[in-house]
Symmetry: C2
Subunit: 228 residues, 2 copies
DNA sequence: CTATGAACTATTGTCTACAATAGATAGTCG
DNA sequence: CGACTATCTATTGTAGACAATAGTTCATAG
């Protein structure tokens, strides 16, 4: 049932991916203007496909466009971070309600693999990769529901969270106070999922989300303080 | 705090709105191919802005685009309808959790007005307008949360639901078995919101959603049966 | 010295034209 | 007579150029 829809990507998709990567990697600072002609030179394409790519990123919430004033990388306020975190939490809850107990074993396998990857990263104290692995783990949990729109919405929200973290290196360095405790929480989450008890997973997810919320808010706050 | 950001809409926005309206009004059938040149003639614009508009609609889930094969109006399967309804429900739940008890009285006013409009439509037995008014009512409930991303996500999902209903007139004619009972349920919902009891609203919303689910599924099913 | 206005430049919005490809149709071979 | 292949056409993908506007800078007047 996995659809291997291999189809040559258009320049629009390639451009959108490239710019998305640049933004999430922090190569483009928040609030930075995206000059179309400059991007066309960098990417080696012409403006029409680039502009279509910008529309895609705009819908994804990574950039903001005002008529006649061009596009800029989205600037996230505390309110934005609040919105992202609450929305993410709500989507995860739906995913658990629909996906636990697990119906399709293959999907569980993906989550298990992601967790193993997280544990490897924690052992190597590689915080950067741990963030990525954590992202994959959560995505795989959401994928348990077999709900395409949910997955897309989640990916979009998670992406904005990465943008939020890309804006200050501080978060990337200090994000997880205790790596192993962090991974242990994820292990517990997966165990509960495997046990097939949605209520227990939701409860764990609640404290899980609470922690993320505090950590991110603190990091964002510290950035504001440190920039003065 | 209401931002009157008056800014002249670009052709992209105008085109997106126009095509969106055409799709939701049923003027473009589900699965119908959207030939770019034909649309440019209808709308009196050239292809670049049109293509950007199509990207917007693609991200909104109203059309599907495959590389080198153009765009077509999205075709919704039963799985799609399931996804739309569950997602909508999850978003409404988040809205209630954040928005009840009501913090900003002005927002409640909007919901009250929408409900009055619903009651007027029910009294006039105008099912078409009732659907619209119901949409506004639910949107205003979601707006209680003061959560921009939530509102946008909800609008997108709700829009797809309208697409789902646009594909068969049957749903529009017979959607609400009992108009007044339907409106009464909404009245109760708003009363609970005003009372400021999130748990009670969530409980009512659950049965509310359950009903919508059955009604829509039945209508979709009947369409499939009646088309043979 | 400051504030207001106009001209200018950088950038976006839009259009026309060309290149490339997927689907269709007809022709030919088995 | 059916199936496969080649050509052809309709449509999408991309490029480059022109038009319009917002922000900036400089000049001038108060």
């Amino acid at each position: 049932m996995t659809e291997h829809q291999l189809q040559s990507p258009s320049l629009v998709q390639l451009a959108a991916n490239a710019i998305r990567r640049m933004i999430l990697a922090g190569e483009l600072a928040e609030g930075e203007r995206l000059i179309e002609e400059r991007l066309t030179e960098q990417l080696g394409i012409s403006r029409p496909p680039l502009r279509e790519a910008l529309r895609v990123l705009e819908q994804e919430g990574l950039i903001v466009t005002r008529p006649r004033r061009g596009s800029m990388v989205a600037t996230l306020t505390d309110q934005d971070v609040f919105e992202i975190l609450t929305l993410r939490s709500a989507l995860e809850r739906l995913a658990v309600e629909l996906g636990v107990p697990v119906q399709v074993p293959e999907r569980l396998k993906v989550a298990q693999d992601a967790l193993l990857e997280m544990e490897r990263c924690a052992a190597a104290e590689d915080r950067g990769s741990l963030v990525q692995a954590g992202y994959k783990f959560h995505s795989s949990l959401v994928a348990l529901a077999g709900h395409r729109r949910l997955e897309e919405a989640y990916a979009s929200v998670q992406q904005q969270l990465l943008l939020c973290m890309a804006r200050n290196l501080y978060a990337r360095e200090h994000f997880y106070e205790d790596l192993h405790e962090h991974v242990a929480r994820h292990r517990k989450l997966l165990d509960l999922v495997e046990a097939g008890d949605p209520a227990a997973v939701l409860a764990e997810l609640a404290v899980h989300g609470e922690r993320s919320f505090n950590e991110i808010q603190n990091n964002v706050g510290s950035r504001e303080a440190s920039s003065s």
